[in-house]
């Protein structure tokens, strides 16, 4: 279960949301630029602290200001694909993907085989030992995705994870992620501007505006045309 009920003062407005998503479903966050979507992911990951409220994922309470509990970032077990990737610039593609496993002290050989297994289907084998500074934008995003998936996280946080991918890889990744989520039965939060992502992966959709949830529901409900100008635009985009 995802249960996010937090207040946090941002620069221009107060982020004030109360989101509940049933067990192992995927939450899709939609909204205009600057609405506070990335901030929610940061709060869940523990990179920011809410002013008040709580965040519970599955059976764990990540943070609860009333109970004064707060699990440190590294113990939350989140797989976070950052909007700007945040690849470690001093490491190769391989080292980036392997990093999380190394931190879990997984044996070398296991890491090696697991990384190759992940990287193969995404065509990263040929840049495996390149420094991440010398790979293309889309390749960076794939590495960021694999790095987050490699640790077999308890929750996935995906900030526009497919925006720089080419069409083929986008489709492929969408399928792959769907399979992973279904089989690992882990909750996830996906920020996207792409309706296809929402349709393919989303169970619950929240539409945000200036720090507040203005519309939420499951995919079918939300997609009934005319419910909100933002969703409208999503459709009109399809048509253009």
């Amino acid at each position: 279960m995802i249960d996010i009920c937090v207040k946090k003062a941002l620069r221009d407005f107060v982020l004030d949301v109360d989101i509940r998503v049933p067990e192992n479903e995927t939450l899709v966050l939609l909204g205009e630029n600057g609405a506070g979507k990335s901030t929610i992911l940061n709060l869940v990951a523990g990179l920011m602290t809410p002013d008040s409220g709580h965040i519970r994922i599955g059976t764990a309470t990540f943070v609860d200001t009333a109970a004064r509990t707060c699990i440190p970032v590294e113990l939350r077990g989140t797989g976070y694909v950052f909007q700007d990737y945040a690849l470690f610039p001093h490491m190769t593609v391989y080292e980036n993907i392997a990093y999380g496993l190394r931190m879990q002290d997984v044996p070398r050989e296991t890491i090696a085989s697991r990384v190759r297994e992940l990287a193969g289907p995404l065509g990263l084998l040929e840049v495996m030992y390149e420094n991440v500074k010398y790979i293309s934008g889309g390749q960076c995003q794939r590495v960021a995705l694999l790095r987050a998936l490699a640790v077999q996280p308890k929750i996935l946080l995906l900030d526009e994870p497919f925006s720089a991918l080419d069409v083929r890889t986008q489709g492929q990744m969408r399928q792959e992620l769907k399979a992973i989520l279904e089989c690992a039965k882990i909750p996830s939060i996906l920020v996207t501007h792409d309706l296809r992502d929402a349709i393919a992966l989303g169970d619950q959709i929240c539409l945000m505006e200036k720090g507040e949830v203005v519309l939420s529901g499951d995919v079918e409900t939300i997609l009934q045309e005319g419910k909100h100008p933002f969703i409208d635009r999503f459709y009109s985009r399809e048509v253009t």
Binding site: V73, E74, F82
Partner: protein, 273 residues
């Protein structure tokens, strides 16, 4: 072909490049000429003779050992300070920051006196250490303390700047991947700041190797125990200038070698950043 085109593409800035080359040339000459004057003055035979003098060998090994230990100590204590000051805001930060800088402005002889007044056997703290039977002044430990005192700011300053230059985004990413603060520090922050850290360490080592004034005041000058190369050089300078210069040349050559070796060892990292 590529190279030629690269050169053509950069042709536009010829005047600028000449100006820069001139500035660099002048600067290198300014440092190079005195060094050359030093090297030219010393006959190689004297150099070889000096290298067989047990006094010189004692001083040389003492210098290298103490400067090495000092550098390690400075890294050990300086790194947390540098990191804290680069990342955290706390009351009194600016003062701590400035205190760690102050040893640079103290003329070394005064720094040595201050150390003596603090840790000598009549000193502010030293008198109590003395009661415990701990003697610091005029021992090899004093040499190291003098070097640490005088050379630490160079490391701390540079490490601090380098840490500040590491974007927190990477540390955050590491944390979400399960690395605790310490592992994040060693696997992410340090490697990303490594050029600056090494550069600071080299500076500290070099400064410790050249340290004279504080050492003579606080540690004294006893062959094999506290007589480092600079002390031996200064001592010889009172008698035979050429012998003294021979020692100076030995010091310069060895430092040159040490620095070049460190640079070569760390070249890969530098090339990457």
């Amino acid at each position: 072909m590529t190279q030629t085109m690269d050169r053509i593409c950069r042709r536009g800035n010829l005047p600028l490049r000449i100006l820069i080359a001139t500035l660099v040339g002048l600067a290198v000459l300014f440092i190079g000429i005195p060094l050359a004057a030093l090297l030219l003055r010393v006959p190689p035979a004297l150099l070889l003779a000096s290298l067989q003098d047990p006094v010189v060998l004692d001083a040389l090994s003492l210098s290298l050992v103490t400067a090495g230990i000092s550098t390690i100590i400075v890294i050990g204590f300086g790194t947390p300070i540098a990191y804290i000051n680069a990342r955290c805001q706390y009351p009194g930060k600016k003062i701590i920051d400035t205190i760690t800088d102050l040893p640079v402005v103290l003329p070394p002889a005064v720094a040595g006196l201050a150390l003596l007044m603090a840790f000598g056997h009549r000193g502010l703290v030293g008198q109590y250490l003395d009661l415990l039977g701990i003697e610091i002044a005029f021992t090899t430990i004093a040499v190291i303390m003098a070097q640490v005192f005088v050379a630490s700011p160079f490391y701390i300053r540079q490490a601090r700047t380098s840490f500040a230059g590491v974007s927190r985004v990477y540390e955050h990413a590491a944390r979400t991947l399960g690395a605790g603060p310490l592992r994040t520090f060693f696997s992410i922050t340090v490697p990303l700041a490594i050029t600056g850290i090494l550069s600071g360490a080299v500076m500290t080592f070099a400064r410790a190797l050249g340290e004279f004034g504080a050492t003579i005041m606080f540690a004294g000058n006893l062959q094999g125990k506290t007589q480092t190369m600079p002390l031996a050089i200064y001592g010889a300078l009172q008698g035979d200038m050429d012998a003294s210069l021979a020692l100076a040349v030995i010091l310069v050559v060895i430092s040159f070698a040490v620095i070049i070796v460190i640079k070569t060892l760390t070249e890969k990292e530098e090339a990457d950043t």
